[in-house]
Structures are given as structure tokens and as C-alpha cells.
Symmetry: C2
Subunit: 380 residues, 2 copies
């Protein structure tokens, strides 16, 4: 079992840590997304410099490219990408249901066509465990069906039952198999049920019975109103074990993370800091800045005076704007480093505030400034 310790609580918000063979992960934790074995535009040295403790990578993508044969020959993903800290891999479920066409869902798994070349593949719960053994991620996730929003109650009910069934098959395959590279691997279940309280309850109960190392909340941040997301998170965490990490998948904006922490979530991943960074949107303590804006043309101040990242300590808004306007690759790196550091710093400060016991007060204040977009930059 994964060693997870909640060391402080501030109402529902939790500060803690867990340990893998690749180090300690302090929670609340944000996992930079390294879909294809690299966090886009940020090299491994900078990931370490911004104190990344765990990255997420994608089973679906790694299975297609470079493939399990290469990963096994490399000695697993840690060695392949030269990343010595923790790695969590999602199950591929989300990608199968969002990226690939012509999928056929069956009780024993899902058939899909590769988004790369249209070739046909089949993911069973057992196969997905096997792929994650080849990857060697510290934490693997079970195959699930991620329902879209909105989605009919009946569909969600059957889907949640299927996800529960797949979870049981996954757990069995996990227990029957062994890690390949000498370090321990752990497994999280994924709670589905869309926005239906009783289905979230059903899914949570099913998964808890299987006694996973941690539990993910899936099927959110897929288009539902943010208040419904918060309510669903709040309701779901209230049923989840106290002594296991809680991971809200694919969320979100900085303020979404803080609201979810308030509701008892410990772990997050999202492409937003890197993707938005590549699109010239920079998260700062004073709101979101669009670096293509002409007003930064001769603004030689740092992106964020409160930030100690490589970008902010070395370069100005004017330089970053120039790089974006000129289409330079360096813009992508500098923006991504800053945004990731912003997310990771936000998690570290949240943790401190929970330990100090004034998370809620701090959150109310900080949410005002970090989401100031409209007030400070009306034209963006």
C-alpha cells in the first residue's frame, strides 16, 4: 500500500505527503503533464529547478509511441526520459474516449483506432495494467470510461457500472503481475458518475471495496458549469477514504485548484499551464496576462514580481512579448516554465496555509488577485 499521511487539516482542506520509490510527493500536489514522455517545451532540468515532485504521462500516447517494446528495452519511462522523481500515468481511458474515432465499448474492454494512423487497437483493463508495468510509472490508473457532459442518467449508470467492473479486473491484474524495474508501483481507482450524486455514491462505494492506493475523481472538467463541478467534488470527497490520496483529474485553472483543495482534494494535473503558456497566456499573482498585448512592447518589468522562476528573474515582459510576436521557440519555454512554477508555488503556499490553519482566508484573498484578468487587463 502507498504510504500516505495527512499531516494537517483545515476544515476539509488537507496537507500531507506520500512516498514512492522515487521520492516524497507533498500534497496538495500539481502534476505537470508530460503526455509523450516530455513536458512540452520544458526540459527535465527546469522541471527539477521548479521543484516538480511528480509528473503525469499518458498511457495511450506512450503505448502508440514509442511503444512498450522500446520502453521495456529502455528500462522504463524514468530511464527513457531521464526523470528520477515520481511518475503517474493515466489509464488511456480519457484519450480513447476523446481522441480516437470509431471506438467500440465492450464488457471486456474498448476497441479504438489510433489518432495517429487509424490502426485498430484494443484496451482491456488487464492490457492497460500491462502497459503501465512496461512504463514503470510509480502510480498507475485503472481503465475507465469517461462520460461526456451532458450525459443521460441511464448511460452514466451503465458506464459507471462498467468502470467498476473494469476496476475490479484491473485490480486483479495488478495483484497478479509484478513491477519490471525493481521499484514499487501503486494503483488508483477512478470514480465516475458524471454529475449524478447517487451514481457518484455508487461508483465511490464500488471502488472503495477494491481498496486502491488512492482514488481519482474522473468525468469532471468536461464542460459542466464550475459550480456543479465544485458541488460534485465536495459531495464525492465526503465519501472518499480519509487515509488515501484524492486526485481530481484534468483540473484546471488556478482558482479551480484552490476551490477543490478547500473541498478535500490532494492531487491535480492539467495541460493549462503549459498549453496556455504556449499561447502566450501567463498566470501571475495579479491575474492572467496576454503577452501578445501591445502594451507590453516597452514594459521592462518582470512577468510577475512575486515569482522566482528562471523567466521572471532573467527576462522582461517586453522581451517575452517580442519572442511571441517574432514566433521564437524560446517564448514557449519561458512561458511554460513560468506557468508551471506558478502552479507549483500555488500548491506549496496552499500547503503552508493549511498547516497554519488559515487556508480559507488566504484562498478568498488570492483568488481575487489571480483571477483579476478582467479588471487589470480589460482588453484581453
Amino acid at each position: 500500500m502507498l504510504k500516505f499521511f495527512v499531516t494537517s487539516k483545515d476544515k476539509k482542506a488537507r496537507a500531507g505527503y506520500f512516498e514512492t520509490d522515487h521520492g516524497t510527493v507533498e500534497t496538495p500536489a500539481f502534476m505537470p503533464v508530460g503526455t509523450q514522455g516530455t513536458v512540452k517545451a520544458v526540459n527535465q532540468k527546469y522541471l527539477e529547478e521548479i521543484k516538480t515532485q511528480i509528473v503525469l504521462s499518458n498511457t495511450y500516447h506512450l503505448y502508440l509511441r514509442p511503444g512498450t517494446e522500446v520502453l521495456e528495452k529502455a528500462g522504463g519511462l524514468h530511464r527513457f526520459m531521464n526523470w528520477q522523481k515520481s511518475i503517474l500515468t493515466d489509464s488511456g481511458g480519457f484519450q480513447v474516449f476523446s481522441l480516437s474515432d470509431l471506438r467500440k465499448v465492450k464488457p471486456e474492454g474498448v476497441e479504438f483506432k489510433s489518432h495517429l494512423d487509424g490502426s485498430t487497437h484494443f484496451f482491456s483493463p488487464e492490457k492497460v495494467v500491462g502497459i503501465q508495468r512496461s512504463i514503470g510509472s510509480d502510480i498507475m490508473l485503472v481503465l475507465d470510461e469517461c462520460t461526456p457532459y451532458p450525459c443521460e442518467y441511464e448511460y452514466v449508470l451503465n458506464s459507471a457500472k462498467l468502470t467498476s467492473s473494469w476496476a475490479a479486473m484491473s485490480k486483479e491484474a495488478f495483484e497478479k503481475s509484478l513491477p519490471l524495474y525493481g521499484h514499487k508501483q501503486f494503483m488508483f481507482g477512478i470514480i465516475q458518475g458524471s454529475i449524478y450524486g447517487d451514481l457518484r455514491e455508487l461508483s465511490t462505494a464500488d471502488l472503495i471495496k477494491l481498496d486502491f492506493d488512492g482514488y481519482a475523481i474522473g468525468g469532471l472538467a468536461v464542460g459542466e458549469p464550475v459550480e456543479i463541478m465544485y458541488d460534485t467534488v465536495d459531495f464525492t470527497t465526503s465519501m472518499m477514504p480519509e487515509d488515501k490520496p484524492r486526485y481530481l483529474m484534468g483540473v484546471g485553472r488556478p482558482e479551480n485548484l484552490l476551490e477543490a483543495i478547500k473541498r478535500g482534494v490532494d492531487m491535480f494535473d492539467c495541460v493549462m499551464p503549459t498549453r496556455n503558456g504556449r499561447n502566450a497566456y501567463l498566470f501571475t499573482s495579479n491575474g492572467v496576462l496576454s503577452m501578445r498585448n501591445a502594451k507590453y512592447k516597452d514594459d521592462f518589468s518582470a512577468i510577475d514580481d512575486n515569482c522566482n522562476c528562471y523567466t521572471c528573474t532573467n527576462f522582461s515582459k517586453a522581451y517575452l512579448r517580442h519572442l511571441f510576436i517574432a514566433g521564437e521557440i524560446l517564448a514557449l519555454e519561458l512561458a511554460s516554465i513560468h506557468n508551471l512554477n506558478f502552479y507549483l508555488s500555488l500548491m506549496r503556499t496552499s500547503r503552508e496555509k493549511i498547516i497554519e490553519g488559515n487556508f480559507s482566508e488566504w484562498k478568498s484573498e488570492i483568488v481575487k488577485s489571480i483571477s483579476l484578468k478582467n479588471k487589470i487587463n480589460p482588453e484581453e
Copy 2:
């Protein structure tokens, strides 16, 4: 005057150094190209890590974007891009004659249309000096006309005369103006004359009279056979002052640099290490590798065992191939860092060998292995 010292000679090959207010530049020197105030895909920290002593940036591009107003407000290019070592800027002549349409060459300068938006601009020798004052480069170059290859004798004759006339106007403008940022600026003349010996002679004589801080050889590496380039370099350097740096513009492949060093050249710039890197071509001590090649799929060795760069000490051929095949930005950074380090290391070793007095022997050997492309990778 620029302080330049030739400390060792091995036949025509020279080892030396010069000093700007931004540090010592050891020669033979390779200047990574930072066209728009950034070396593509490589941040300033890695440029320092690979011991870059001087970068080249482009007057034409910087004039169009971000423009002299922004550069002046920034306090010059060094501060704008946060680069504390030396910067050389070319005059924009090459870009005007290669990138822009509808140019009109007149005795007093050249009218051209921006390749970005078609707007009309005029570069006079004086204006180009002024732009380089705004940039604050340690070494500026005079406006010249770069002739294409092949080019009629008559055209080259008139063009070389025009370049000489512009050089005189540039020198006068340089002497009449002052640096803007408290550090000294120097100026190099550019020798033209295409492949015509007597015109190279004429151009060299004209420029020497103007007593520049150094001399560039322009108008080569524009499509002429490599032996003609070598002969022209050999002939031209034999007429150039011993006590001034000699800069061969826009050259070239690693073996071209070594052949030019043998013929008395001290400085180089070329987009090849970065551009070829971004196209997955890696220069190594065992020849050029095409990283997209399927044979590297499960080759977990370093790109070059003899290389100590970030890329080679951390990542494998298989990982780099995966990044290229998957279209990941990290591939561009890792390849560019390696290729630049290869070029810079080659210059450092050349310098050592000249000092030791066995440059020619070493060059003959190393050229065999670094240009092994066809023997080692027949399918590329």
C-alpha cells in the same frame, strides 16, 4: 581600436583573442546565430553553459522587430535579451539582398520592402550605423551589397565599388557618433568581390585604407563550389592585415570551418548547427546522424560519447528520436544545444591544436570522421 592578439600561428592558422567590454573572445571563434535576439530554441543559460563567448544578431530583423525605440528603452540588446557576453551584429545587407523584394540600390543606400508586412524602408550606411548604436552590439558591420553566385564580372565590379563607398560612409558615421550605453563598440568592414581575385584585391585594398577594427569576408557560401570558396578565402586572407580579426560570414559545415581556419580565418557564424538541429541532423565526432532514422528507435547510447553537453550527458538517441517523431519541442532544444556545443568545442580544439603546432595533422584526421556521413549512415 579593438584589442586583438594573435598568440600562436601554425602555418596560416591563427590562435588568438580579442577583448570587448563584454569579455574575452578566443579565436578561432564560432558565433551562434541569434537572429531576432534569441538563438533559436536555446536559452541564454545554455548558451553560457556551452561557453559561448559571442553571439551574432541581425540588424535587419531587430530593426523591424522589436525596433530601435524598444531596444533603446531597454538599454540595448544585451539588456533586452539578458546576455552579458559579446554581441556582433551584421549590417542587414545580406538580409536586404536575400529576404526582401523590390529593393532599389542607389549610391546613398538601398530601399527595400519588409518581408514581414511589405512596408518600405531605406537603409543608408549612416542609418545602419545608427541602428547598431541603438542595438549596442560590441561589433557592428558596415552596410554592404552581397552579390549572388554566379554573378557577372561587371556587376561585381560595380557592386564592390559601391560596398567600398558605403564602407567609407559607414566609417565616417561611426566616428561621428557615440555608443549609447557606456560600453565601447567596434566596426568591421566587409570585403566583397565574389570569386574574382582582382576584385577581392580591389575590395580588400579599399577597406584596409579605412582602417577597420576587423574585416569580414562576405559574398561566399552563396552557392559556389566549395573549392572555389576555399581558394577565394586563401587568396583574400593573404591580403588581409595580420593584426586584425578575419571573419568569414555565413560559413558553414564543420569541415568548412576547419578548412577556413587553415587558411587564416578567425571568426565564423552560421545557422547550420541550429537549423540542421531543428531538422533532426546531429553533428557528431562520428559523422552526421539523422535522428529520425528508425535504427535509433532502441539505441540507448548518447548522441556522441565524446560530448559533454546537457543533451549527451542526459539523454539517449532513442529518446531524442522519440521526441522528433512525436513532434515535441524538447527535441529542438536538445538538438540545438548539442550541435552548438559541437561547433564551439571544435573551435576550442582547433585553438589548442594551433597552439600545439599540429593543427594540420589533426584537421586531416578529424575531417575524415566528422564528415563520415556517407560511410556510417549510408541510408541517410
